[in-house]
């Protein structure tokens, strides 16, 4: 047998033996081996670079149990790893994925090796390498090119770091509404209710209570508005303006909702005691006095007081004037 043929046959035998060995190893792999193998590739999410196969953490043990069950169910290694990746992303792979930024980790050694080989090959193919320019000339060129190299390196660093931060910005800390950016108009009644429920003693909760109560009031949902107005009146942190508004609304709801004139007038009086210039409290009290007990004299006096205020809004002035004229002309409350 010629020398060349013998070599080919020998090489073929080697390859065949290796293939058989690999097949034997593969078929002899037990389920436990597979579990260990997969567990050795998955990083424990709550550990520092430790595979779930070796970690004592409860989460790692639970993940190993999941892997064990999936292997017993006959799932492939790829399917099992994919299931975990679907939940945790590549962050749980001990070997970084060959994509995105971590691709550099895979490419860099290959590039470095390639560059090294290229240098050696070039070196061997240029036996006259020793006859180049003088070392002094080389030094001079190197000095000229040094700033260029530094600039290029800095540019590369900036690109990489900028890319990193841009990537982070699109990940965590994006999306969910920030409380400080919220316009109260965009917030639902339910959200305000939830916030108020857990902040009943917060010094600034009365503003939100009043805003929510006003919403209910505008919707004629007096039963929902009542507890919030009442809480504002009772709150030690509410300011005078908030209490006057709440008392006035409570008074009007007592009259409109239940026809309780005496209660309403009492609440208006409490508001006026706090703020004698309260236009709304005086106007509404006059309405109830006129429409309830029919006390037109006191009602007229109150309305005249309101009109005497130079800063009364034009619309309010128009309503008050119309009511006053109606009372004076003996009309009944509409």
């Amino acid at each position: 047998m010629p020398e060349r043929l013998r070599t080919i046959v020998f090489a073929g035998l080697l390859v065949a033996m290796a293939a058989v060995l690999v097949m034997l190893m593969a078929t002899n792999e037990t389920e436990a081996d597979r579990v260990e193998s997969i567990g050795g590739r998955i990083k424990c999410p709550v550990c520092q670079g430790e595979p779930i196969a070796n970690s004592p953490a409860q989460l790692a043990r639970d993940m190993m149990e999941l892997v064990r069950q999936r292997v017993a169910e006959g799932q492939t290694d790829v399917a099992i790893v994919d299931e975990l990746l679907a939940s945790y992303s590549g962050a749980v792979l001990l070997d970084p994925p060959a994509s995105g930024w971590t691709l550099v980790l895979w490419i860099a050694p290959v590039l470095a090796l390639g560059a090294g080989v290229a240098v050696i090959v070039w070196w061997k193919q240029h036996p006259d390498r020793g006859t180049g320019p003088s070392p002094m000339l080389e030094m001079s060129r190197a000095r000229r090119l040094a700033p260029l190299l530094i600039l290029a390196s800095a540019f590369a660093a900036i690109v990489v770091v900028a890319g990193f931060f841009l990537q982070e910005r699109s990940g965590p800390n994006s999306g969910v509404a920030d409380i400080t950016d919220q316009n109260l108009e965009d917030v639902s009644n339910e959200t305000m209710e939830a916030v108020i429920a857990v902040n009943t003693d917060h010094p600034q909760v009365d503003g939100m209570r009043l805003a929510l109560a006003e919403r209910y009031y505008q919707e004629n949902d007096f039963s929902s508005a009542f507890p919030h107005y009442f809480a504002v009146v009772e709150s030690p942190n509410a300011n005078a303006s908030q209490v006057v508004t709440a008392l006035t609304r409570l008074g009007w709801m007592a009259w409109q909702g239940n026809g309780e004139a005496a209660t309403a007038i009492d609440l208006f009086d409490q508001a006026i005691d706090i703020d004698q210039d309260s236009t709304m409290a005086r106007y509404l009290k006059a309405q109830v006095l006129w429409c309830g007990p029919g006390n037109t004299e006191e009602a007229s006096a109150l309305l005249e007081d309101v009109l005497a205020e130079p800063e009364v809004d034009d619309d309010v002035r128009r309503f008050v004037t119309a009511d006053l004229e109606s009372i004076r002309s003996g009309e009944t409350c509409a």
Binding site: V46, V104, A108, A142, P172, S188, T191, A194, V195
Partner: protein, 196 residues
């Protein structure tokens, strides 16, 4: 040194710098803060029994509602801090098509029940057990508290890592109801079991 060799050297040096910067930039990054791959994906199904036992609750049964899934435990301080907010928000949205599901994480149902006995619970929320952390793993939980928001079609549209407050929870639900996708937010630290 000749020109060709010199440029190869520059190239290698440049690659080394870039490589070092990449490594340095990732150093110290908390892997738990990576964006959840579940965002924009169908929420992992679950069928879990209530802590007290009884008929299991499945996510499929809740389809059509906005579902808020929160992982909690009695040993988690941040969970204790946010519990009142979860309860009040669940109560506030009880009449809306919003369902709160709180899942006990890495503790026995009696331990979770003892905790809820003192912390309080909403009549409008489900409190479920997760034996073997299967649902927690399916949701990619790193530490707790973690809260996931699932829209009416069953898609994961939001995630809060860390302690929530009522405003954040409510505003997130409002946003989802308005068709927005809140995404992921990190509001604070999460916690592992103390014995780990």
């Amino acid at each position: 040194m000749t020109s060709g060799l010199r440029w190869v050297g520059y190239g290698v040096a440049l690659a080394a710098v870039a490589f070092a910067v990449v490594l340095a930039s990732r150093f110290g990054t908390d892997p738990g803060l990576v964006e959840s791959p579940l965002l924009g994906q169908p929420a992992p199904e679950f069928e879990l029994a209530p802590l007290e036992g009884g008929d299991p609750v499945s996510l499929t049964d809740l389809r059509g509602d906005i579902v808020v899934v929160n992982f909690f435990a009695s040993w988690c301080l941040q969970c204790r801090n946010e519990h009142a907010a979860l309860t009040s928000t669940a109560d506030a949205f009880a009449d809306q098509e919003v369902t709160f599901v709180q899942i006990g994480y890495q503790e026995s149902p009696p331990e979770s029940l003892d905790y809820l006995e003192t912390a309080g619970r909403s009549e409008a929320a489900w409190y479920l057990a997760d034996p073997g952390s299967r649902t927690a793993i399916a949701y990619g939980v790193f530490g707790i508290p973690e809260t996931f928001f699932i829209d009416e079609s069953g898609t994961v549209v939001g995630k809060i890592i860390g302690e929530s407050d009522a405003f954040t929870l409510g505003a997130t639900i409002d946003a989802i109801a308005a068709g927005e996708v809140p995404g992921q937010s990190v509001t604070g630290d999460t916690q592992q079991r103390p014995d780990e």
